[in-house]
Symmetry: C2
Subunit: 347 residues, 2 copies
Amino acid sequence: MAATTALTVNYTRIQTLTLYFQHCRSKRWINLKTVNRRSPFCRSLQRHAATVVSGTELARQIHKEVQSDIAKLVAQGNRRPHLSVILVGNDHASHTYVRNKTRAASLLGMSSSTIFRPSSVSQEEMLELIDKFNRDRSISGLLVQLPLPEHINERAICNAVAPEKDVDGFHIVNTGKLCLDQRCMVPATAAAVWEIIRRTGIETVGKNVLVVGRSKNVGMPIAMLLHSDRNHERPGGDATVIMAHRCTPLPRLKELASLADIVIAAAGVPHLITADMVKEGAAVIDVGINRMQDPVTGKLRLVGDVDFEAVKEKAGFITPVPGGVGPMTIAMVMKNTVTAAKNAPTY
Amino acid sequence: MAATTALTVNYTRIQTLTLYFQHCRSKRWINLKTVNRRSPFCRSLQRHAATVVSGTELARQIHKEVQSDIAKLVAQGNRRPHLSVILVGNDHASHTYVRNKTRAASLLGMSSSTIFRPSSVSQEEMLELIDKFNRDRSISGLLVQLPLPEHINERAICNAVAPEKDVDGFHIVNTGKLCLDQRCMVPATAAAVWEIIRRTGIETVGKNVLVVGRSKNVGMPIAMLLHSDRNHERPGGDATVIMAHRCTPLPRLKELASLADIVIAAAGVPHLITADMVKEGAAVIDVGINRMQDPVTGKLRLVGDVDFEAVKEKAGFITPVPGGVGPMTIAMVMKNTVTAAKNAPTY
């Protein structure tokens, strides 16, 4: 039994291996000493689990670059970049996200401020506040933490933030630019997935990418980045991209996943992507952040959209949750803020 | 031989049919009288070729609706809708396209005007002209025929047209709205493909759609329309969408096409989609307009991206070239112009 789980091999590629398994079945183990270690069989037998891509580690790289950029900006006589966040209501997760962003800003040598408003705030007051911040030259980047209370039109709020300060990349002009392959503020989570792929050296040109989830802040922009032309103003991944979502029947999702060199899971469904779906050696990037109660301890814990432990044994690369896309997303907000500061008119 | 091409059947579904074929092979024909006509075999043997979807016919439907909308608008005391076109240079195809549009406008009871400029026109003059037309309340819809000479920045021109008069749907705000599933001016060719699918009754929800070609005016907006949520402000097709393009290797394209319930060919490659790629019964929509010299007559003729004659024998629905997406595209420009007239402020 132990041997069976440890050996994840491609049966179709190495068909004769089946014979060896059948030979060993009665013993329930395989003695590696009896196999020629230089043969392809042996390399398969010794196959390691996926490389776990640490988002925390990659974020550290980006943090260093951001710090160096800030130092240069300040040395050139510019103001220190400043991130302003507007936070409405008492949602626990929103408060945590905002705290993580402002903490990162301060660690990297950026100043930041958080403006709290009660959930009873009116849309007019929000628009006035945003307008004031848009005109304030000491503010480089401005973000309004979503979700907002139901009586506020989120789209109107996103479109009110000046596009050049819109470090979340949610303004309609930034969406338009993204989809037309122009340089723009890319939504942080999509930018995080892009950087993970690039910095891990995962090839995208001509590859099959399955994006599961079509949200306007995550799935859609990821599909835009990955399918578009690498020679355009904002370079794309030149991959064949499959956009799947809740209307994709599960058997069809499995079929498409089995063809994918890269699977990006951004559906918000715990453990949607299982080991039987994934192609051997594929890169699996888990964007899901689902809070689930541990059946043993009763505590809440974060799980992704990928069945990490099982998929790890089959994939070539995999990102964990937590510690994968999450820290990279925060790093990309920081990078966007410095970009905003660089693009700001000097005066 | 004749029997072989006339009988396009699903060999995997009706396996025993193979035996019948083997029996008949020596004769090279099948006598239908020897088969029970009520059996499923017979229904397969009598299978008809694809329904050829006439874009000309569907365009006629839309023309009638547009005419009725114009009559209502005018009866309500509004100005008659007016389409203005700016045409730069002497490109033959561009002149033909513009003539087709203004002719359609006049047939439907819209007024129109074409402003010609030499290819030496400056970007400044173009921008001034567009600005004048934007402010002119007698103009409902305005389009600048593309392509423009190289010294003019097409993007700057597209973004200069007022979004509410932008009947081509090329303004960045219309792109942003399209990608965020908001009501907007949809690029006419993408809107044409959408209407063909809708009016032919082809199901999209949960289906597999392959879009071949990722141009910003055709492939990309088609993918946006078809993958998005049917319950959003601008309803989408809720399909699983595969975005393929020149970087998709041909064997991979074949593999993906064989999974597709709907194939939309918008690559600009003559006869790219062949019968061996297409799934039996699939809907095949040909957006390609390629001018090719006839090897026999030496004359130029239009061919699509689909090998029409061969694919027709296997598909469930197919659009021809010419007479498919082309006339529907013009109809959608007319529809967009009436929408612009409806949305214009009354005064």
